[in-house]
Structures are given as structure tokens and as C-alpha cells.
Symmetry: C2
Subunit: 335 residues, 2 copies
Amino acid sequence: MVSIKDVAAHAGVSPGTVSNVLNRPGKVATATRERVEAAIKELGFVRHGSASTLRAGHSRTIGLSVIDIGNPFFTEVAAGAEDVASELGYAVILGNSAGSEEKEGRNLRVLAEQRVRGVLITPSGEDPARLDRLRERGISVVLVDHPAHRPDQCAVAVDDVAGGRAAVAHLLAGGARDLAYVTGPLTIRQCVERREGAAAALRSAGFDPDGLRVLEMATMTARAGEKAGADLLDAGLPDAVFCANDLLALGVLRSLLRAGVRVPDDVALIGYDDIDFAAASAVSLSSMRQPTYQLGRIATELLLDECDNPETHAHQHIMFQPELVARESTRCPAA
Amino acid sequence: MVSIKDVAAHAGVSPGTVSNVLNRPGKVATATRERVEAAIKELGFVRHGSASTLRAGHSRTIGLSVIDIGNPFFTEVAAGAEDVASELGYAVILGNSAGSEEKEGRNLRVLAEQRVRGVLITPSGEDPARLDRLRERGISVVLVDHPAHRPDQCAVAVDDVAGGRAAVAHLLAGGARDLAYVTGPLTIRQCVERREGAAAALRSAGFDPDGLRVLEMATMTARAGEKAGADLLDAGLPDAVFCANDLLALGVLRSLLRAGVRVPDDVALIGYDDIDFAAASAVSLSSMRQPTYQLGRIATELLLDECDNPETHAHQHIMFQPELVARESTRCPAA
DNA sequence: GTTTCAATCTGAAACGTTTCAATCCGTAGG
DNA sequence: CCTACGGATTGAAACGTTTCAGATTGAAAC
């Protein structure tokens, strides 16, 4: 395997100079630089990232830990992150926690071993301690789709309380009175806050927030949604259903349609995330849109800025507002 | 930062012994091992992956290069790969080529720098040379959703010719005669082979394979599918449309429905991949199912077997058969 | 002709781990 | 009691890069 020494010998310079060509090309005389570059090309030299990381004390990789890689929401976040990272020559190590804090912990451990420069994470629980432990090791952390745990930290989030409020206000405006909330585990912050928003909407419309039926599913998948739909059919249908994400909503929709329930006439339905497929479903799905791809991009830009310009970097807490997208699955208030 | 030496000092042993505890615990006396493990825990030691990689000559990371991380097909592959890798303590570095060979090349370069143990790749073009270059560097390569370039290589694929044939045979059995094929770039092997299968089906049914109208789109997304649908509406509708993947099909479906075209009565439609959302679309989508998650799992198992047991490893070329899933979007032949 | 200075380049040390030949120790066999 | 042996442990070398103090230029200033 050809090393920096071979390149140096071939170009008639010292290893230090080759390193400079690689890392600070401006500090090397043009003629020398070109000679070294020619040698690199000729020998097919590829820098050994681990040696570089070991000596320099930092790597050019970042970690991305998401809750469910099967959810198009996270896929878009990942796409945004990967684009930015790739532009700046960083590699992205992917970790899928699959909703399990234990697996998330294992993934974070691997990231720590790899000495990633920083970590983008949508935490699957509410334990800031393990993230603080990363920070102690000098690994920057940016929270994605989650508000900051602490002031000296970047975070990019979307206002989930506002989203829940808007979704339920929309259902109420459509005439619904008996509401159900189909959610994932209430250990997940997003699920809790969207419920709070829903309760707030009920309260300000003069209804009892405790009247909201809550179905807590173990996962936030279409399959879980189908199960929730079946449960609703068994227990008696509400006027309207608010789902904590679109996957759940698509599952509920499927169950209802299969049972001959008309959406939105018998039951109105709204999801969350506005994934691409929401618009294409059997009855097109109303949803709360979030700037997903941007979430990934901006989080990565913040992270790499924090890593590359620690002295000038200013921590930011960015909070986007979600946007209601009304489609067929909810009665239009005007009708 | 606490190193192996600190652990060694704290446990009263030599660094070599700590290394053995980490890598060959069986070779260390129980009492010593426990003492070292206690020291590790107490000091919060985390092994420096780069130092380990540098000295040992190989890392515990693999690369995954896909064509479109936004496509649920690849997401499922990634989920399968990540599960296996994570079980065996490997980290997965994600690369999204976004259909660009140039970006794929850049990603492979990063993977080479990181000295990944191996690479899982769905190549976006037909240039085996760059993969051979990885192999020369000692990086194993397993092809995913692509037949092997060479015998001494593992590959996990699905029979795309058979899939194309089955899809079009199904459309013909439903009574269609004037067919269109909506595809991604014909530089992508899958697109080409599915077309070949389509042509073969036409031929064996006694039709002219050149009668197949081909619409080649630049990307394989729902947006491109909408565009294709619009093009078909302009140019005159066929009896049936075969799409090279489900995203294209969902886009076409959307265009057609919006224009008031009835599916399948006016135009039958079949996609490919059977992503989760195919069953949930406005008119549920017929498709060709592939064992996607398994593709990722098995490819990763083969890759890691090749890395960890090079002497006993037998290269395998696995070819799955796709399966027709008939839904509403195609006329049932019996009807 | 000497001094100064900046620009450029050199070479050895250091990063934290793994590896392996060498050493140590206790026990079984003679 | 001596020898042999195997298991357990040691310690130094090596992996390929980066860093940095110092060496070497050649030109400018006096």
C-alpha cells in the first residue's frame, strides 16, 4: 500500500511537504505542489484516514442517529445531511435506533469509538446524559427535530405543540367533536407535544381536553396504524382522527376504507409530516408539513460550522413552524 | 482522554494485556480480565477506533452506496444492512449517489480513505473498473440488486428480466395491447433489463416488441412520474403503463387521476418494487415485489463473512425471483 | 560584503493501538 | 530435585499521518 513516504520519495521531497500539499496547499511553492500532485496521481495514493485522524486528533466523519430509517421523514433528513456532508468532504455514519434506547446507546458507542467529529441525533428518549458524555469527549452534538437540552448546543426543531394545535383546530373547524389521537410511544417527545397541542386546541374551542381518546401504539408504522384503525372500529368510531405521523395515518386510512368507512364523510383524518406519499394515498391525506430536507441540511451546516470554526461559532436554536396541508381526508370547513 | 495505557496502569497490567482483554478475552486469566474490565468501566475508557484501524490494518466499518436514499426500496435495503452490521459491531457509512456517477465516485473515494472493511453497492453505472480498484486496495465489494461483474465476487440480485416479463404478461392478460414503459435513465441496468423482459413478454404473446412506447425520464421519482403522465396525456394514452419503479408509477397515477382518466378501466398501471405505499395509493398499485430487506441483510452477511473468514468464504451469486402483486390498478384477467 | 527576513522545506517525534518474540511462573513428569 | 512445558503476561516496535522547531535558501536592505 502506497504511503505518504512513497509519494515523498517519488517526488523528491520530504513527507512533511506532501502532508502540506494535502492539507495546506497554499503553503507550498507551486512547482513543488505540482510535482507532488503528479506523484500522488501516478502512484494512486489515497490518504489513510485513520492515521490522519489518530495524529490530527479529529476525523472527517459525522454520525447521524435517527429513530426510524424506514420513515420517509427521516430519510429526507438523512438526504439533506448527506448532501451537505458530502459537499464538505465529510462521511456520514448512519445509525438507526429503531426506537430502542438500548440500540441508540450502542450506536452512540460505535460513533464514539470512530471518533466522529460530531453527531446529528433525533433522540429516541429524554436522557441528555449520554449526549453530555459525548460532548465531554469533544464530540459536538446537534439535535434534529428536537429542542435544545442546554443553551450551549445547537438544535433544529419544529414546533410540535403548534402543529398539534393546528391539526386539531382544523378538524374542529370541519365540524368534528369526538376526536381520537393515534400516537406512537408517549416516551417520544414529538408524540407528547402534538398531544398537548391537540389538547390546547380543544380547550380554546371550549371542549374538554380529556375527551380526546388516545391510542398509544408501540411503533409509528403503517402496520401499527392498521392496528389502531381496527381498534377504533371495535371500540366505536370517532368523528375525526389525528395521527402523530403519516405512516400511522395511512395505516388507519387503510383499515377504515377496508371496513367501508367513508373518509372524510364518516371519519375525518389528518396525519403529520406530509411525506410525499400522503398526497398519493387512496384518499389524499391532510397533514402538517415540516421542512424536512432543510432540517437535515441546516443541522449539518450548524454541526460542521461548530467543528470547523469553534471560535466564531454561535450556538443556535432554530424552531420552524409547521404548515397545515388540507386535502381530501378532512372535510373542508367551507363545505 | 483516557488511553489503553491509563487503563493498564490503573489495573496494574501492561498495555498488551488490556488489548487482549479487548480483542481476545479468552486468552486472559479470569481474575486479570475482571480487573481490567473494572478499570475500563471506572475510567470510562473508549477504544480509539482509528488507532486500532491503523495498527491492525483493517477497520470495523462498511460502506453502503445507494442510488437514491429517497426511494423506500433503498431505505429497506439500508435497514437490512444496518441491522446486520450493528449486530456484529460494525458501523455503516452511507453514501447516496443520487444517480450521479461522479458523486458515486466521490463517495467511493471517501470510503477508500476511511479504509472501510468492505462496500455494499448498487452501482449507478456499468463501470466495474472503479470497483476493481477498491478490491486492489483490499476492500471487499458486494453488489446489491446487481448481478456479479466477475466470478470472485459476491452479488445479491433479483431477476429483472423475469420481473419485466411477468409485469407485461400480466398487463397483456388483462387485455392491454398498446403499452408504454415509463423508465429511469437507460444507463441503469435495472431499467434496461426490465424493458428487455417487457419486450420478451410482448414477443412471446405474438406482438411486436418495438410497439412498446418508451418514456425515459431523468430520475426515478414521483415527480418524474407526474411528468411522464402528462406526456402520455399529451401524446395519447396507451392501454396500459408499466413503470420501472413504484415512485414513477405513483406519479403517473396522480397525473392520470387528476386528468379524470380511470385506472384501470381506461389505462392499467403496474409499478415495480412493491414499496409499502403501493398498497395505500389512491388506486392501489399492482407491482413486482422484491425481497428488499433480505437483500440488504444477506448482502451484508456475505460481505462480513468475506471480511472475517476470508479463508473459508465462498463467493455467492444470489438471484431472487420477483413476485407479481396484482391490485386495483390492473384489470384482473378473470374479470 | 554583511545582515535580515520571508518563504520554503526538512526530519523526527508523537498520536493510541496491536502484535509478537521473549519472559516468567507454576506444575507435571521423570 | 531437575527438566519440560504450557499458560499468562510483558514491553517494545510498528502502523501512516501531522506537526513544529529548526535548517536552508535567495533576495532585499543597508
